[in-house]
Amino acid sequence: MSAISKIEVLGSGCPGCKKLHELTVRAVRELGFGVEVDYVTDLDRIVGMGVMRTPVLAVDGRPVLAGFIPDVERLKEEIRKAAGA
């Protein structure tokens, strides 16, 4: 049902990045989307997205949130918005 094919959390291994990854996994599960949440530490990719802060939440390769850790509700909202639903 979701139009999303890929969700990524990008970070440099900082504690905040791991936390965002956990929250995103939870948000995706609560939304019922059957998408894997990848954890990416490749700095090249982060900078290539034009982002200067970590952690980054990217949906289908496009950065959606950067530099802060929102609550699960906000995460769900962003993912739903990106899915166009």
Binding site: V47, G50, R53, A66, R74
Partner: protein
Amino acid sequence: MDPFFPLAWAADKLVYGALGLRPGGLTGEALRFFFYDTAKILILLVVVIFAVSLIRTFLPPERIRTVIARHHPLTGHLLAAALGVITPFCSCSAVPLFLGFVQAGVPLGVTFTFLVASPMINEVALTLLWGLFGWRIAALYVTSGVLVAVFSGLVIGRLKPQKWLEPLALKAGAAGAVPGSKMAWRDRVRYARDYAADILKKIWPYLLAGIGLGAWIHGYVPAGFLAGYAGADKWYAVPLAVVAGVPLYSNAAGVVPLVRALVEKGVAVGTALAFMMAVTALSLPEFMILRRVMKPRLLAVFAGVVAVGIILTGYLFNFVN
């Protein structure tokens, strides 16, 4: 009047009342000093870190770099130093920040100014300086920090450091703010709260150790004892202080209270400032991470220029005082 008089009162009650120590005695003095300082600094830190983090959510680095890139390099240097103050600089964000600046067309010299100012002038160091030394020394630290950062940026920019960058830094990247990254107020408050909690969790052991050691020195070391070793007339004190500061990277929390006690016992102010700047600005882990984007030659130049800048500022303030 001391706005923290209720803390002074509570510290008196605790040490001379509850613990029954004699006013004016060495142990009592040292303990009172410890309790008063710890409480005062912790309160100040919570308030200041929270406030600065909240302001920071309105000035993301993506916006900062567009502002800097639009300015003439000369004003750019000053602006970069000023913006470095509010930008937190943990080693995990060093590379994205550096690359983001370079790829947005910010001149390398200006980027280095930012890179020096960002870790050196931060809200934790400033709060500690303000709380323990007073606003004059805090202002002096900001001034010298900006001086060193602009000096380093100008010198490194002159050396045409492009040839010493790793290929990763030369690739053009996408620039521009993250589209959906708008923060709601609840996100901002959460960010500020989490950030303040994170920082305090990280620094409190160093802070307590620094204040404890400082209190001990305050109580037990005779006044003027260190003047003979590190007074303003000792030329070698400043470079020595810089070398000693390098392995204590980014531990401003523990170092500032200790330095306060040392200044009280005769260490010259310029020497103390140089020491604190070396602690915050020259850090081995940061250099190891920056190695991904800079050749060893550039790292050496970077460290050397910053060290020279700090030493010169140290001499300057020893001379002026």
